[in-house]
Amino acid sequence: MSARAERIGLLAVPGLSFLAVIYALPLFLLLLKSFQIDGQFSVAEYITFFGDDFNMAVLWRTLRVACLTTLLALVIAYPTAIIMARAKGIWLSIFLIAMVLPMSVGVVVKAFAWSILFRTRGVLNDTLISLGITDAPIRMLFTETALIIGAANVFLPFMVLPIYAVLRQMDQRLPEAAASLGATPVFRFTNVTLPLSLPGVVAGCAFTFSLAISMYVIPSLIVGERQQTLSMLTARSFLFLRNEALGATISSILLIIAISVVLGSSWLASRLGARQ
C-alpha cells in the first residue's frame, strides 16, 4: 500500500515541476538579482532605493493606501457578512450575486467604471450637486481618497466572503447557549461571535491587503502618474525608464511584503485555530 501511495505522489510531479520552473524559479532569480551587482552580492540597489525621497514617498503612499483600503473594506464587510450569514432564500441569492458578479467582471472593467464615476463631470459629482451637497464639482480623480474608495470597492468581495464563510459555519447554538447563561446581546457578540469570526477576518484582511499592495490597474486609471504606487513605479522602470535594476529592487520589495503577509496571516490563523 505504501508503494502505491508513493506512486500517487508522482502524480503531482507535472504540476509541481511546472510551477517550480515557471513560477518559483523566476521569482527566486528575481529576488537573487536584486541583491546583486555585476554578479556580486550587494545591497547597493536597495540603499539607492531607500535613500531616494521620491521612492520613499511612493513606498509610504503604497502602504498607507493598502492599509486604509483594507480598513474601509473591513468596516463595510463585517456587518454585511453578519447579515449574509443569517440570510436565506432570495436575499441570500441577491447577496451572493452582488459579491460574485463584481469579482467575475474583472479589475479592468471596474477600474474603468470608477474612472468614469469620479470624473469632474461624472455621475457622482452630478448627483452630489443635484442633492445640494456641494455647489461645484469636487475634484475626485487623481486623489488618494478616490483610489481608496475604488480599491475598496474592487476588493470588497474578497473581504466579505471569508468572513461570511466562517460566520455561516458557526454553530447557531453557541449564541443561544450564551444567552441562556445570562449574556446580553453585546456580551454575546464580543465574547462569542467576534472571536469565532476572527479567522475569517484575518484571511479577508490578508487577502485584501496583499491585493491592495500590488494593485496596478486601479491606481493607473484613477490616480495616474501623479500619485504613483510601488507597482506603477515598477512597471514604469521596466517599460519606460529602462531602469531594470530599480524595477527588480521594487519587485523584490513587493514580493517580500507579499510573502510576509502570507506567512504572517497563516501563523495568526494557526494560533487562532489552535485555541479552537
Binding site: 507535472p14 515557471i22 447579515i83 474583472g106 472593467v109 446580553t184 496596478y216 519587485s251
Partner: protein, 266 residues
Amino acid sequence: MTGTDRLFLTLSWAVALACITFLMLPIVITVAASFTSSSVYTLPPPEWSLRWYISLERRSGLWEAVTLSLNLAFVSTLISLVLGTLAAIAVTRGSFRGRAAIATFTVSPLMMPGLVVGVALLQFFREIGLRDAYWSLLLGHIVITLPFVMRTLLASMQAFDFSLVDAARTLGLNYPHAILKVLVPNLAPAYLTGGLFAFLASMDNYPISIFLTDARNKTLPIKMLQYLEEQPDPSLAAISSGLILMACIVLIIGARTVGLNRMIQG
C-alpha cells in the same frame, strides 16, 4: 429579541444594503454609459443609442485581442484542469511528507503581486531565450489559472469518497480509467467552478500579461487600456459591457449547473 439586538440588526442591514449598491454601482454605470449617443460620458445619456457598439467593428486590433484572450483563457484553463487533477489526487491521496506545503504552494500565486510575477517571467524567459509572445503568455496564464483550479479541486477532493474509485476497480476498471469514469464526473461541480473562475481570471489579467506581450500579441485588457490612452470614448464602455455580459453568462451557467452557494463556497 431586545431593543439593542434590533438596533444593531437594523444598522447592519443598512450597511449591507449600502454594500450591495456600492458593489453593483460600477457595473450598472458602465452598462448605462455604453448606450449613450454622445461621445462623452454623460449620464443619463442625452439619447440612447447603439452607436458605440457598432463602432467596435471598426476598432483596429479589437477582434484579434478578443480571440487571443479567449484562446489563452481556454487553453490555459484546460491545461490547469489536467495538471490540477493530478496534483490534487497526489495531495489528497498520497502519504508523503509535505503535502500541506505543496497544497499551499500551488495556491500561492493568488497571493503574489501579479506585476512581480510578470517581471520575473519576463526576465526568465529572456534568459532562457523564449521569444515567442504567445507561448510566453500561455505559460504565464497557466500560472494564473492553476491556483484557482487547485483551490476548488483540493477542497472537493478532500470531501470525495475514494471508495467509489475502489469499487470501480473491483468491477474491472484500471486506476486511470476509474479516475476518469468515477472521480471526474463526481467532481464535476468543482471542475466547473474552478474552471469558470480560472477562465475569468485569465480573461481579466493585466499585470502578468503586460510584460509578456509584443506588438502583435495583445490581450483584451491590454488593448482596452491602450484604447483608453489613445481614444477614450464610450466604445470602451461597450467593450466593458461585453465583458460584463460574458461574466453574467458564466455565472448563470455555474448557478444552473452547480448552484450559486456551492460555487462560492468551493
